[in-house]
Symmetry: C2
Subunit: 188 residues, 2 copies
């Protein structure tokens, strides 16, 4: 009955082939067409995420660039991370919610910052924040630049959750498939 395993091995073979071409840490083209880079929502409704240049996927050690599109109403979780993060808004508008570190045990009520096409904004290191497409009529598209990849995200259930009760999500969704294939590197 060994022949019953054949489809399984064929499936395994193709799965491995797809993964190795996707997670191309060792060698990938100098120039790539962003339209041809895979996008996914990683289970987050209304999100389209493209890793333009990544640590786990492409071997960058110091910076990472994402292209993210949020459908109307779509948003990030409330989260923080200990890296620098800079956004450039390519399309649409929305709101940045930001709770600057006020030495409390939890973020507390965030400040609201309108963000808009051709604006840039940044998130201070370790400040809890959330990016939300609050424009009902248009997608929000942003280029995101982070340092110290791959990103280590601490997620809050709400703005009153103690910093110490947050959940670490590492590797993050878009790095999970490729993280195991990345070479050993120093902890940053």
């Amino acid at each position: 009955m060994a022949f019953l395993w054949i489809p399984f091995f064929i499936a395994l073979h193709f799965s491995t082939a797809v993964e190795s071409s996707h997670c191309a840490v060792n060698g990938f083209p100098i120039v790539r067409n962003i339209s041809e880079i895979p996008q996914d929502n990683y289970g987050r409704q209304g999100l389209s995420h493209i890793t333009v240049a990544g640590s786990a996927l492409h071997g960058f050690k110091e910076i990472e660039v994402w292209l993210q599109t949020f459908a109307p109403g779509a948003r990030t979780p409330i989260h923080r991370h200990s890296c620098e993060e800079i956004f450039v808004v390519l399309k649409g508008s929305g709101t940045l919610y930001l709770a600057s570190n006020s030495h409390k045990n939890y973020p507390g009520s965030p400040q609201e910052f309108p963000i808009f096409k051709n604006s840039t904004f940044f998130v201070p290191v370790n400040d809890a924040h959330q990016v939300w497409n609050t424009n009902e009529h248009e997608d929000l598209q942003v280029l995101v630049v982070i340092s110290r990849p791959p990103v280590k995200v601490f997620i809050y259930g709400d703005w009153n959750m103690p910093h110490t009760a947050t959940r670490l999500k590492f590797p993050y969704y878009w790095d999970e498939a490729c993280y195991q294939t990345s070479p050993t590197k120093d902890e940053l």
Copy 2:
């Protein structure tokens, strides 16, 4: 005759005021309109450079983002730097000239890579390269992301100049005005 000095002191006062508002290392808005950020060509013909998020200007320590527009025919010098560098092409097309490190004493003839709207490309650390708007009919606009700011650029006179004969340009043109005002930081 002391009154002759008055215009000098007035000029000095305004110069200092302008510089301090431009070089806002300590505190600048979370969200900024890129259209309102100063642009300059820094003496490089056909270039428009905007520091979207900078080390010397804004206090970032790990990443820097520039928006650069090259008129037809405009180009960077042939240069190298020991940081990661990722480009996203927003408009136009052109050519990346890249001499991968082949363990020679000089870069040698570069490879040519066509770059185009909605493409991304990267420059391997320390490889000599040049970005050139070789499209005669359209501006080339790129977002540039670098690590380890502020950038330390080694400039080649041509592709056959020995690596050891290159000229270090530090601080680079767009950082010069503000570099002295940045806080002391560790050498990266």
